[in-house]
Symmetry: C2
Subunit: 261 residues, 2 copies
């Protein structure tokens, strides 16, 4: 993860450091960060100090370790609440979960990766915070492919450049070419499959959420297992999922243009 692309300015560097702290699962010491950071000692030190002072990081005085601060959680709450899709989609996800009895995912695109912004789980009622905010690969998940398929060429290129193409299962489309062919098929079909491409036994049907102008706003999927159903049976529900995606898109758009004065 080392050298983040192009860190513009001090702010970029600071955020880079934030990511670095986030990428370790646990509180990190100064020296740990130093070894992997390319920044010279003093620079890194001051960045950490600033971020800590700003509440984005916390420094445990006992252990001398840095962890992500609470200010982030507060900001993220706002981010989630105003990312238009998530709060609007909420009741629709409930409905879809009730109708299908399966697991529902709502995702958005984040730098070539899939970011899950909400979820309904068939079995356990709902999970928390911990669930939303997770990231996953784009090239081998239903929601990922559904979004990729409708991205404009330049954005698609940028996203493709960031795919790792790891062969998770025998069904994974682990090359750029195979994926591009599949994306075309998705555009034709109108929805994406996940045919055990990410995890064995897990299948899903996903549709993109598109704005009126055709911009990709996110994706919505219904997930199940091969033990419980088949791709064809899931596909039968595609029209309904598409319908709900359209409703979410419509509502999100009208919300974006509030009656301003």
């Amino acid at each position: 993860m080392g050298a983040e692309g192009h860190a513009d300015g001090t702010v970029g560097k600071a955020l880079d450091v934030l990511d670095m702290v986030a990428s370790h699962g646990r509180p990190v010491r100064f020296s740990d960060l130093l070894t992997q950071s390319a920044y010279p000692k003093a620079t890194l030190y001051r960045l950490l100090q600033t971020l800590t002072h700003q509440g984005m990081l916390t420094l445990d005085p006992d252990t001398g370790t840095y962890a992500l601060g609470v200010r982030l959680v507060r900001l993220a709450h706002a981010a989630w609440a105003q990312s238009s899709l998530a709060p609007i989609a909420r009741p629709y996800l409930d409905e879809l979960a009730r109708e299908t009895g399966e697991t529902i995912h709502l995702a958005q695109m984040d730098l070539g990766q899939v970011l899950y912004v909400d979820k309904r789980n068939a079995a356990r009622p709902v999970e928390m915070f911990a669930q939303a905010g997770k990231v996953g690969p784009a090239y081998c998940t239903g929601v990922g492919k559904a979004m990729l398929a409708y991205l404009p060429p330049d954005a698609l290129e940028a996203a493709l450049a960031r795919q790792s193409f790891h062969r998770h299962t025998p069904h994974t489309l682990a090359s750029r070419e195979a994926l591009l062919a599949e994306l075309q098929a998705i555009r034709k079909r109108g929805h994406a499959w996940d045919a055990e491409e990410h995890e064995a036994g897990i299948i899903c049907c996903a549709v993109p959420i598109l704005s009126r102008q055709g911009r990709v706003m996110g994706a919505l999927s219904v997930t199940s297992t091969t033990a419980r159903t088949t791709l064809d049976a899931l596909g039968a529900q595609a029209p309904m999922i598409k319908d709900i995606a359209a409703k979410i898109a419509a509502e999100a758009e009208s919300w974006r243009f509030p009656e301003q004065v």
Copy 2:
């Protein structure tokens, strides 16, 4: 909200702008931010540009409005997962919710405000993301007072300086003096009440979560209504709540010192 205290350096200013965007509930236009920002046009413009480029904000090309970006949601997921308290406390909150059948809150301190990091709701199973990340006042909530009571003098002073002391109900302790007296009583008693101080009819019993060295890590509360129970009845559960708080603290601490190597 205007002039944020002391924004050190460029990073401080950038984060200040982030907060500004967050504080509006909806996407904002450049000029809206400009009017309330004190920063000159060009400066604000560049800050927004940087933040957008970094994925902390998104600029809707159609409407020309800025909203919080998805990178925040991803960061916050990590923040939540590594803020040691929340993930560790999870099973204990479940237990407490089951035992008491009441609403449970887990909170931490954030710049003089209470930040709820997790929650169990008696009636509806669990709510999402939207719930965690909320902030509330410290001087008139159970968790807030429980934490204030055990803060070291300088931190307490800093927190007090940020209280607004608004009289939400007739029972609100709306002065510094009244609050200080109550904090002393809390230290003596070992747990805090909320005797309808924030909302009429809502009462709660809260205990701090303290590290071995006595540092305030957070607070835990059981909330109910006057219609359903009384403060005394809630107080009877204080020992159990305290016990759970201690368990959470112990586990969080041992997690903080992982067997390194």
